[in-house]
């Protein structure tokens, strides 16, 4: 089931001089000691379990120092039972790299990865069709797979993907353009990576800061309370009028506080910060701080529609109460209606189901115990997506598509 993804990354790192020379030698010696042939994939597969049965366990990351910028690869497993690790790894990514085996073609994993990548909103994709040496470097085979996978991606409404024919073990089209595949006119993998665009933080959007906590430390001035959180969208200035949802407390920003930093008059998305207010109003952690003058306000509701991906060991059951966590807020929630269930590998859809199993995605209606402050996923990511906790584990991830 290994499409050579680990070999590809291992080769890419080695060929760009990103692996300490000592490390390659060390692993070669260890392989010799265990009577095993050296594989570039071993550079990634740090865990002993993998070296034993040749599969990747959980998530490992490595950094490629490129010419102009660094790339952090989060290597995620390609096996069914590790889907949860894959989603977790993919959840922090801004672009994706998928590896398909030229000989085996598009299998269950490749479909599932494609679905997850589109569901997680990752818009930039490179697809490497690997092991081209085993199909005689055939152009027609490459074009056939490219057409098939493009069709799949189009169904998932993902528009842009770059396809590259490679042979990772031989280093073809990894760093340098391949000499055997002269029919391919596109970039090699390293060049294709440099073409990824870095996503920008939404500074011009309506201001959203989920309140993580309110601090009043012992030796502070008696009434000094600090509202703490990370700004997820927009920008704010000292003197701005603000409002907290859902309990509608209103006040004005008195100061922007940061340890070991000069005072600031404004701050924008991405920063973890604290504020003092004038006057101080009672704020409950979990509320969302917004700016009065932004026209687009978040919704306050107890029911919405969402796209849900289920990963829990036990199936999601309609009507059962789970814990919902959205931004800095937690409340109880239950699925009141399962509208449509999709198998993430075959992409077959089912209606009339009342349960959602692991590795399935569902369009459903959710009702919460307490009020939830949210935006549609298309408007704001931080307040548009949530997780469901079953017992002690995060079992599902969802994106809000409509307020009910």
């Amino acid at each position: 089931m290994d499409h050579g993804k680990s070999t590809l990354l291992g080769r890419l790192l080695a060929d760009t001089g990103n692996v300490p020379g000592g490390k390659i030698q060390e692993i070669k010696e260890r392989c010799a000691g265990n009577s095993k042939a050296f594989e570039y994939a071993f550079l990634l597969d740090a865990l002993k379990e993998e070296q034993r049965d040749m599969r990747t366990v959980d998530m490992a990351r490595c950094t490629l120092k490129g010419k102009d910028r660094d790339y952090t690869f989060i290597d995620v497993p390609g096996h069914t039972e590790f889907l949860r690790s894959m989603v977790s790894g993919a959840a922090r990514a801004e672009a994706a790299l998928i590896v398909i085996d030229a000989r085996e073609g598009i299998k269950e994993n490749s479909r599932r990865h494609g679905y997850l990548i589109s569901m997680l909103g990752i818009g930039q994709l490179i697809v490497c069709v690997n092991k081209m040496d085993l199909v005689g470097y055939s152009k027609s085979r490459f074009e056939q797979l490219k057409k098939e996978y493009s069709g799949l991606l189009a169904n998932l409404r993902m528009k842009r993907a770059t396809f590259i024919p490679v042979a990772a073990y031989k280093g073809e089209n990894i760093v340098c353009r391949s000499r055997t595949m002269k029919w391919y006119k596109g970039p090699a993998l390293l060049r294709a990576l440099s073409l990824f665009v870095k996503t920008l933080r939404p500074e011009d959007r309506p201001f959203r800061m989920p309140v993580q906590d309110v601090y009043s430390f012992a030796d502070e001035e008696k009434n000094r309370k600090l509202i703490a959180g990370r700004i997820e969208a927009g920008k704010i200035n000292v003197g701005d009028r603000i409002i907290f949802y859902p309990y509608s407390g209103r006040s004005t920003i008195k100061s922007i506080e940061m340890f070991n930093s000069p005072g600031r008059n404004s701050i924008g998305a991405g920063y973890s910060i604290s504020f003092t207010l004038s006057p101080h109003v009672r704020v409950i952690p979990g509320e969302v701080m917004c700016r009065e003058r932004d026209r687009e306000k978040p919704a306050i509701c107890t029911a919405f529609r969402a796209n849900l991906l289920w990963m829990g060991e036990k199936p999601l059951v309609e009507g059962r109460t789970y814990k919902l966590k959205i931004a800095a807020l937690s409340t109880g929630a239950k699925v009141t209606a399962v509208k449509k269930v999709m198998d993430t590998s075959s992409l077959a859809t089912f209606y009339g189901r009342r349960r959602v199993n692991a590795n399935e995605a569902a369009e459903c209606e959710i009702e919460t115990t307490g009020p939830v402050v949210c935006d549609l996923i298309s408007k704001c990511e931080a307040t548009g997506r949530f997780v469901l906790v079953d017992g002690y584990e995060i079992a599902g991830g969802g994106m809000i598509t409509a307020i009910l």
């Binding site: 300490p20 865990l47 366990v57 959840a91 993580q212 340890f259 966590k325 002690y392 991830g397």
Partner: protein, 293 residues
């Protein structure tokens, strides 16, 4: 926002989440550069304050200068400073230094066992009395349910498989294949009684980032990291019988940054001076599955 500001913001976000969700929270401090940056980030998150106890697992083999640095910082910042120790093993001299244990067993006894048992309260914590400057056994033996550690994903193989919030079962075992997803900055903050969660705010930080941050914020670190004239310095600081210096003339953070960026050290792994990593079959994985940091 530059890269350093991005990872700083993420670390603060993680620390604030931990403080909010875990009633019995502590931070492990090894006096090294990473946990010192972590302490600084705690002060960033809580506006100069350190609102949780700081725990040092004292193997008694740290270079004495580091212990002096520890106690001075504790007094200056008025920290709730505690240490835990495997006094039994030290009394019996079951250590590598005394040649009565190999490196792995020594780490297991002096670090892992001490860590796990101090965390749970089975063994006492020795708390610094800021008035007298002396340590005394603390009567409070409540188990810590959350512990903040400064490990980074790029340090060595098994640490790169970690999560920000990583559960340990009742026996502090790490089931690496069963880790929960950390979807969209939502972390595992619910856990069964009797287990604990480890919080790793520095996971995305590289060795280079650590030194860039130390330089930018002017964070005081122990001078053992710099060449004081001998042409050698410590790149990684553990116990003195198992930590070896490297050849380097770097005298300050800027020199180290140059050394790391221009590739003088790019051919050498950061922990290459740490003998116990080699002894564990190339990596700390066996130790870590059983509760090591």
């Amino acid at each position: 926002m530059d890269h350093l500001e991005t990872i700083e913001s993420q670390s603060i976000y993680i620390l604030r989440t931990a403080y909010r969700e875990f009633k019995d929270l502590c931070m492990l401090w090894s006096i090294g550069k990473d946990s010192t940056v972590l302490l600084w980030l705690v002060r960033k998150a809580f506006l100069g304050h350190v609102p949780m106890p700081i725990l040092h697992i004292d193997t008694s083999y740290k270079i004495p200068e580091m212990i002096r640095y520890r106690d001075k910082l504790a007094k200056d910042l008025k920290l709730t400073m505690m240490y835990g120790q495997n006094r039994e093993a030290l009394k019996l001299q079951r250590t590598f230094y005394h040649k009565k244990a190999d490196r792995i067993t020594c780490c297991k006894l002096l670090k892992t066992e001490a860590f796990v048992k101090t965390l749970s309260g089975e063994w006492p914590r020795y708390k610094l009395d800021l008035a007298t400057g002396k340590y005394k056994a603390d009567s409070d033996r409540t188990p810590f349910t959350g512990v903040i550690l400064g490990i980074r994903a790029d340090e060595e193989g098994s640490r790169s498989k970690e999560r920000y919030f990583s559960a340990r079962d009742g026996k502090s075992r790490w089931h690496v294949g069963q880790q929960p997803p950390e979807l969209w900055d939502q972390f595992k903050t619910d856990f069964a009684p009797g287990s604990h969660v480890r919080i790793h705010p520095l996971l995305d930080w590289t060795e280079l980032n650590i030194w860039q941050y130390i330089e930018r914020e002017k964070i005081p670190v122990t001078p053992l990291y710099f060449d004081s004239g001998s042409g050698k310095r410590y790149r990684s600081l553990g116990c003195f019988p198992c930590s070896f210096p490297i050849i380097s003339k770097a005298k300050n953070a800027r020199d180290i940054i140059n050394e790391l960026s221009t590739g003088k050290l790019s051919n050498v792994a950061e922990r290459s001076g740490r003998a116990q990593d080699r002894d564990d079959g190339g990596g700390l994985e066996t130790l870590r599955r059983n509760g090591y940091m």
